[in-house]
């Protein structure tokens, strides 16, 4: 039995280490600031482990050593006292050196977090209960566009996120790219991010913000500049016109029902601003802040009963007939 446990230990260690990889892990750093944070984490963990082991060795030795035969209390062994004071002074000096070393390195590591160099792109991210509103700014106001829960950035460029909470405090955290930054109502915060490698990185609200805090995820998609430009150009376009009669019926239902009072679809009469912009909802990876992959089925399920899927969110259950539900979901899925 013991042997089995011993044999399974390396496997268990590998399993635990596997948690360090993946699309949402500070140990799998793909951004400039995440890399310097990772170095800091490793340095502190290694040094603390060494210190812990030394302390444990000293403790075990002290516990296991045979006590010297008792002498009279006034009988001072000068040599022993000298050794003890040297040892204790060395331990105090080592503590001071280690802690000052940590202070200095973490100071320089955090200073490196604000990426040096000019910003190539500014993105405004607002945190709401419980989704992320993302605004991109073009050269003219006509080139601005909005999306939700999905942020595209070019690889190897400095991107500045302007962060602000719209209702309560949220926190913007993409562990593979950068550290956390809070989104506070009435106080704009900024975070510089530079993705070193292309990929899809998952982010998550890191400040408890209410019932559905756990379902407040987003994705950062880092892609080469050419792909990013193509994506931005596509997002700038108004929504696609319905291609078939079903989508057209869906658009009609969307505009005449309460949907249009909260959601925008650019190029139509829907100009609500309280909910996510749905102009290109079909092109996003997920809906409802990472709750489901975007498919026609998941869209229909979400519209039919949002309060069962994500209790407490601000999307009401709108009464739609069977045909309306089918056509609205077809229309939204077609908004690529």
């Amino acid at each position: 039995m013991r042997r089995e446990i011993r044999r399974s230990l390396p496997g268990l260690a590998c399993l635990l280490l596997a948690g360090c990889g993946g699309w949402q892990s500070a140990m799998d750093a793909h951004g400039t600031s995440a890399a310097s944070l990772k170095q800091l984490i490793i340095l502190i963990v290694v040094v603390c482990s060494v210190v812990w082991m030394l302390v444990m060795i000293a403790l075990i030795r002290a516990l296991s050593r045979e006590r010297a035969p008792r002498t009279a209390p006034v009988d001072v062994d000068a040599e022993r006292v000298r050794r003890m004071s040297v040892f204790i002074s060395a331990a105090v000096a080592a503590t001071v050196i280690v802690i000052s070393g940590f202070t200095v390195t973490s100071f320089f590591a955090t200073r490196r977090l604000s990426v040096a160099g000019p910003d190539d792109l500014t993105v405004k991210v607002s945190g709401l209960q419980w989704w992320w509103n993302v605004q991109y700014f073009g050269a003219t106001p006509a080139e601005n566009f909005q999306t939700a829960n999905e942020i595209h950035i070019p690889v190897g460029r400095n991107v500045r996120f302007q962060l602000e909470g719209d209702d309560v405090i949220h926190s913007f955290w993409v562990p593979s790219l950068a550290g956390k930054q809070d989104l506070i109502p009435g106080r704009p915060n900024e975070l510089s991010v530079r993705a070193e490698r292309a990929g899809i990185y998952r982010g998550q609200c890191a400040e408890f913000c209410g019932m559905q805090h756990a379902h407040m995820a987003f994705f950062v998609i880092a892609e080469p500049q050419a792909d990013f430009d193509r994506w931005a150009e596509m997002q700038r376009q108004p929504a696609a016109q319905p291609a078939d009669s079903e989508a057209a019926a869906g658009q009609q239902a969307f505009l005449s029902k309460p949907c249009a009072a909260c959601h925008s679809v650019r190029g139509t009469a829907a100009t609500g601003t309280s909910g996510p912009d749905l102009t290109h909802v079909g092109s996003r990876k997920t809906i409802a802040a990472g709750l489901f992959d975007t498919t026609r089925g998941s869209l229909a399920a979400w519209i039919a009963d949002p309060q069962t899927l994500k209790p407490g969110n601000n999307m009401p259950m709108v009464t739609l007939s069977r045909d309306e539900l089918l056509s609205v979901s077809a229309y939204l899925a077609s908004l690529k």
């Binding site: 309460p258 009072a261 309280s274 009401p316 259950m317």
Partner: protein, 186 residues
Amino acid sequence: MRFVLLLACIVMLSGCEREERQLRLDPPVADALNKIRLMPIGIAGAPPEIYFALHRPYEANAYNLNQGKRLYAWFGCSSCHADGQGGTGPSFLDGWWLYGPEMVSIFASIRDGRPHGMPAFRDKMTADQIWQLAGYVQTIGAYSARTAAPSRNDDKQTRPAENRAPAAILFDQGPSPVHADQGPTP
């Protein structure tokens, strides 16, 4: 003595129950809530039976009042009614309800609109949302304080808080009433 202490503990513990939040209405319930019976003149009437079966959830439930406060901002009520003081639209603070202070009247005003500019929100909000908003609007100019109140504003208060019955003072007959011709106190 010990029995009394135990009883006191049980009574106190019973107060720990949290206010219930009705996050999802079954579609038949939501439909039924829409079926108010209004007087022919469009003022006052009776809410549907289900309203009482649910224990008048939109008047005494802090969560619903708070949702109403959010909807007040979301649906742009303040563009005409300001923060309750009124503007192009009537004030809610002065305690003079053009169509009466009953929940059904307020519900009908929001859902179906009223002459002289109040738009209908029938196609913009669900029945549940309209009830929530009506409950909130009623508290802005309440005659009597409630135990439940929406959360306070983040920014400066521009008027008395909703749970302070701001309209009560307007109907205080006192030595010098605010409205000389007010009639009987509601």
